[in-house]
Amino acid sequence: MHPRDWITVTRQGIYIEPGDFHIDPLRPVPRAVVTHGHADHARPGHGATLATPETLAIMAARNGGSLDGADALPYGETRRIGDVSVRLVPAGHVLGAAQIVMEYGGARVVVSGDYKRRPDPTCAGFEVVPCDVFVTEATFALPVFRHPDDGHEIAKLLDSLRLFPDRAHLVGAYALGKAQRVIALLRKAGYDRPIWLHGALQNLVDLYQAHGVDLGETRPATGAAKADMKGEIVMAPPAALQDRWSRRLPDPVTAVASGWMRVRGRARQKGVELPLILSDHADWDELTTTIQEVQAGEIWVTHGREDALVHFAKTKGLHAEALYIEGYEEDPADATGGGG
């Protein structure tokens, strides 16, 4: 049976008929399998939610502490749902992020969710799973998106601190994943001063620390004295950067850590003074390498620049097609929950 006959796209998202479940459903469903904790993929309100224990912890933390119908499946273990066998494999995107490996009717399908290939000190690395159908994201699927080395971007931030020692450095980063990765990379670069946090980041920073990711000392920025944050690194969700919240900081240099910062016009348009090209998504090279490494007979491309990636796959003789799903953040630069 061809996977096209048992996998369909509905209003809720990707539906797996022989298992009667949805993947990353956009609206409440009886049974969901969730790839990772970003708000546009992990919506609350499903009857049952299967995900990694880390992803369920993230969802619970964002849901006020608990999550009904949580069903944990650690990486590598197999679970049978209906007639489908399901396994979760690290996707390298954020803590707990998983590719969903499904086997049914003699075919293996991998829904990769959001992923990246480069090492990230805050989460398990992506594993290549050979398969018949590979469902890939395409957030940065244009050859202009080649994320530089992490260390280079962190050095840019540290260099700016040296040049502007009296200014706070306000780094906009998504609350889940990016914020913790930036902190971990700073620590790796030897930066050991306390890092000041917007209230919206505290929860998940604590959660990462509880999962064994050492992020060093953090302090709440809200309520702190202005003068104390001179020359310090302050982190906030991107939406807070130009909001009234930022007026509490001493003459801040505004930085944003995102793959979108690769395009200067984009950074300028958003009023970002210090663009840091740090992304939790695969860049062009990672996407094009991955779709070849999995040796899949078919590549299905979801959210992002499907056109460019499908074109590339065809030039390599791969069978690729776009899978149109509405609702994931195509341009999460303004969102607080999404990737980038």
């Binding site: 050859p143 080649r146 502007f164 009234r244 690769r262 009023g271 003074e273």
Partner: protein
């Protein structure tokens, strides 16, 4: 090249002046010679490397990239040079180091046009994405990183620990990569400028406030019209002429008619104007047709002939006159320009010495096409900057109009959390049409109040811009208003600023477009410019 690229990359997103200065100073402190000199020249616009056209970049892209992917990318990025810089793929292993900036510049200056694509490809292979972007910017469109020549010179003076005025004076006398300037910064001698057409930093006037008057004796001051052109300095030594704008930028190339007519030896301070058919100064927007141009057509020269109305003499032959009082400099100026020469005449003194007569004359300024009056102490020596007391400008009152706030945009830097840039409109029939934009004229407290009002009355959002319910009226002051095909209303204001916030005024009572049209000054006939 890499350091220079990183500098440009930092500058392009840095909104604050101090931030930009700090980045340039840091570059000067760390970049090697002669790269840093060339880097400065690129920033001040003194390198003419506009050798590659967009067509060349497109051809390079098509030769090296998948065309479908290139055009999808270009469509997303929106900037040709940046698209190619970002997607260019060099050889897998880059054996060669990035080229130094001097090598790129020297090679480009000497290379025939046909070799440029091949040279470019070679360098692109050796640079990272930031380096490739900087290289392509350098050779195409100009840098556009928001750095004026003056800002770059200020950074140099700050880094070198030299007085800015001395740096400004020496700058036009040296060529990129400015070895004598760097030698001077390192403790060597100041470059000699006496026999060069050097720039002398301008002396500026303070606005005259009513409260100043009782303490001043009008008899101590020479009075002149404040002409509605641009302030320039024309320096000429041994047959070489330079024209400098108030910023210190060299604008010689834009005024070949003035250069050709110049036949004095020295340096004068005066007003650059365009003359109308009767030989009188034409309104400012005629002159505007001649500004900010790289080349000037013969038609432009005929239609908008430029001339200089001299009001001060800073150097006469080899003699520096700046230490002498204005009375003496004026005599020397009259001796030179007392009889009008082609393209140069004298700004006449107005024999007046009481405040009430002066006030009457100032009231006539607008009708006469003048900006107001200038008062200069007879005993004032010429010093750079804006000393308080010796010179005053007494400008005509601005025009005002009551306009309605339509859109508010977030500011930059310190103002990035405030909606601080305002587009306002006036009534045309029963709709409001935008007529201008202003972002100053209010206090910090007023800014906070307007910001709150904008947030509470938002009807729509477009990125950093919010549309608001019409309801808030500004009294907008402006110096003049001109026809402009670029604006929806067909009008453009000069120096608009918020003079009062009319919280009390219903927006239905704001002004109408007809009111503004009546204030329009005579315009030049439309042309290809």
């Amino acid at each position: 090249m890499q350091r220079f690229a990183d500098l440009l990359d930092g500058l392009v997103t840095m909104p604050s002046r101090n931030g930009k200065l700090r980045l340039i100073e840091d570059y000067l402190a760390h970049a090697p010679d002669p790269d840093r000199g060339y880097g400065l020249a690129a920033l001040t616009g003194e390198l003419d490397l506009g050798t590659a056209k967009p067509k060349a970049i497109r051809e390079l892209a098509e030769a090296r990239c998948d065309p479908v992917l290139f055009y999808l990318s270009y469509d997303y990025v929106g900037d040709l040079a940046e698209t190619l810089a970002l997607m260019w793929q060099g050889p897998e292993d880059t054996p060669e180091d990035p080229p130094p900036l001097w090598e790129v510049i020297d090679t480009l200056m000497a290379a025939p046009r046909t070799r440029i694509p091949e040279l470019l490809a070679g360098w692109l292979d050796r640079l990272d994405a930031t380096g490739r972007w900087a290289l392509l910017k350098l050779i195409t469109s100009g840098l556009r990183v928001g750095v004026s020549g003056r800002l770059a010179r200020t950074a140099f003076a700050g880094w070198a620990g030299l007085p800015l005025n001395d740096v400004e004076e020496a700058w036009p006398c040296v060529q990129p990569p400015y070895e004598p300037l760097f030698a001077w910064a390192a403790g060597g001698p100041k470059p000699e400028v006496r026999d060069m057409p050097a720039f002398r930093p301008f002396m500026l006037a303070n606005p005259l406030e009513e409260t100043d008057m009782p303490a001043l004796d009008p008899a101590d001051y020479a009075v002149e019209w404040k002409w509605d052109g641009i302030r320039v300095q024309v320096a000429r030594r041994f047959g070489e002429t330079r024209i400098f704008a108030r910023s210190g930028d060299d604008i010689t190339h834009a005024f070949p008619d003035v250069v050709e007519a110049a036949d004095f030896d020295g340096a004068l301070d005066g007003e650059l104007l365009v003359m109308d058919a009767s030989g009188e100064p034409a309104p400012f927007n005629h002159l505007q047709q001649r500004l900010n141009r790289k080349t000037v057509s013969a038609a432009m020269l005929r239609k908008y002939p430029a001339f200089v109305r001299a009001y001060d003499l800073l150097q006469d032959g080899p003699e520096d006159l700046r230490e002498h009082p204005f009375r003496h400099r004026r005599k020397r100026l009259e001796a030179l320009f007392g009889t009008p020469r082609d393209r140069f005449d004298l700004s006449p003194l107005i024999p007046l010495n009481d405040w009430s007569r002066m006030a009457e004359l100032r009231d006539e300024a607008r009708a006469r096409g003048m900006e107001g009056l200038m008062l200069k102490r007879w005993d004032s020596v010429y010093v750079p900057g804006r000393p308080k007391g010796p010179w005053f400008k007494w400008k005509r009152d601005p025009l005002t109009v009551d306009a309605v706030l339509l859109y508010a945009q977030r500011g930059h830097g310190k103002r990035s959390s405030f909606y601080s840039d305002y587009t306002f409109g006036v009534w045309r029939d029963d709709e409001l049409v935008p007529v201008g934009k202003a972002y100053f004229g209010f206090t910090d407290e007023e800014l906070r109040q307007i910001d709150r009002w904008v947030r509470a009355n938002t009807t729509d959002r477009f990125g950093p811009v919010r549309a608001v319910t019409p309801g808030l009226v500004f009294e907008v002051a402006f110096d003049s208003v001109h026809p402009s095909p670029r604006h929806k209303s067909g009008l453009a204001m000069r120096f608009p600023r918020i003079s009062r916030i009319r919280w009390d005024k219903p927006h239905a009572e704001a002004d109408r477009l007809e009111t503004l049209l009546k204030l329009v000054e005579a315009a030049p006939a439309a042309d290809g410019g």
